[in-house]
Symmetry: C2
């Protein structure tokens, strides 16, 4: 699991210093380093197990076994599996946010903007399959706290995108409500595309270009739609 | 669980004659009646259990216990849980199809069409919560056969909607590919709305009008977008 190592910007949950693999010999008290390493091992072990099942089906013992720690160690970090799930939600959305930053740096011109945004998403899903799969699977999880957290994060994500959209011509005169609606639909398309990509990556890699082309057309349809849209004043 | 009793039209999966309690030998022997009743009890028991968990987390013993039959009885109807899951997929999509029929009968005029379609969906989600929840949860299920079946059904559903759309002005000159794209986005919105409705029904019923209004606006955005869209010839 090199996900977090590759993207230091995703470390919103646990500060980098706590996560580093510094040995208990010198700097950092041995005990706290061990403790943060155990926490990381628990999160990574859970994410590995979640590659082919859902969170409501995950036992504490399996997670500690996968992490190579004692069952008791789990309770020093989390009260139950749901809490661990919430940390995974935060980490997964930190990954999504790093996509948005990458895309923002990368995106400039009109039609190209669409191709570039989709290309950034495709790269990202390839690099962070476990996070995207986790969000796809748990978005309607029976584990309510996790489901609510994902919904909240998606809403927040759309609000952030709306702020970006507000700078573009045509839509920059729209009321916030309309901007958020468009941003919501774009985020929905992104999430949907990530799910389709996960499927083709695993089962039919030759169909990836089709998914990409399809997503570009949908994104073009959504952004073109702005021309035909007359935002209504709030009722 | 009276779902199927209420909706005989949902029995598309197995031809009606095969599903009836008639045996190949005589007609309607007590034994075959029992058999079909057991099958129904297993499906309903499973659907009840799936109200708060996922299919990959369902045991045969629990299902037979919920159905009030012996564990051995399960194997007379299904080889494993996945097979039962596939039947639930078909039944759930038969429900979705009955929504489309209702909406088709109901829908006529332009702006009203949107309000009516959304109203039909809302009624339907209220009446068939377990089917909509099942689709939402299992759309990205770790159970591959079920995930693929849901994807296939959604694609089929969009193709059917495209045929309906083909009769409308503006889009009736579009190539099939573009019609399917629009239909796909509309179906995506419907599925997404059903998930949001399930959440508000259970957790914040006072927010239902907001979801309805929001869905109407998105649907309006999608259909308005047709005016601005220039279908491209296949590349």
């Amino acid at each position: 699991m090199t996900l977090l190592g590759e993207h230091p910007s995703t470390l919103v949950v646990v500060p980098r210093t706590e996560r580093s693999s510094r040995r208990p010999d010198g700097s950092g008290t041995p005990r706290s380093v061990d403790k943060s390493r155990t926490r990381r091992a628990l999160l990574d072990g859970a994410l590995d197990l979640l590659a082919d099942r859902t969170l409501d089906n995950l036992g504490i013992r399996e997670v500690t076994r996968a992490a190579g720690v004692s069952p008791a160690a789990f309770y020093r970090h989390f009260e139950r599996i749901d809490d661990l799930g919430l940390v995974l939600v935060e980490e997964a959305f930190a990954t999504l946010r790093s996509l948005m930053r990458d895309a923002r740096d990368d995106v400039n011109e009109a039609d190209d903007m669409i191709k570039r945004s989709v290309a950034a998403l495709v790269r990202h899903v390839h690099d962070h399959r476990d996070h995207y799969r986790f969000i796809a699977r748990e978005q309607y999880s029976p584990v309510i706290s996790v489901r609510l957290a994902i919904r909240r994060e998606i809403r927040l994500f759309a609000t952030e995108l709306a702020t970006d959209l507000a700078r573009l011509p045509i839509v920059n005169t729209w009321p916030t409500e309309d901007l958020v609606m468009l941003a919501d639909m774009i985020v929905g398309l992104m999430v949907d595309t990530s799910k389709r990509l996960l499927d083709v990556i695993e089962e039919a890699p030759d169909r990836e270009p089709e998914v990409i082309r399809d997503t570009e057309r949908r994104l073009r349809y959504l952004t073109n739609g702005a021309v035909a849209w007359k935002p209504r004043p709030r009722s």
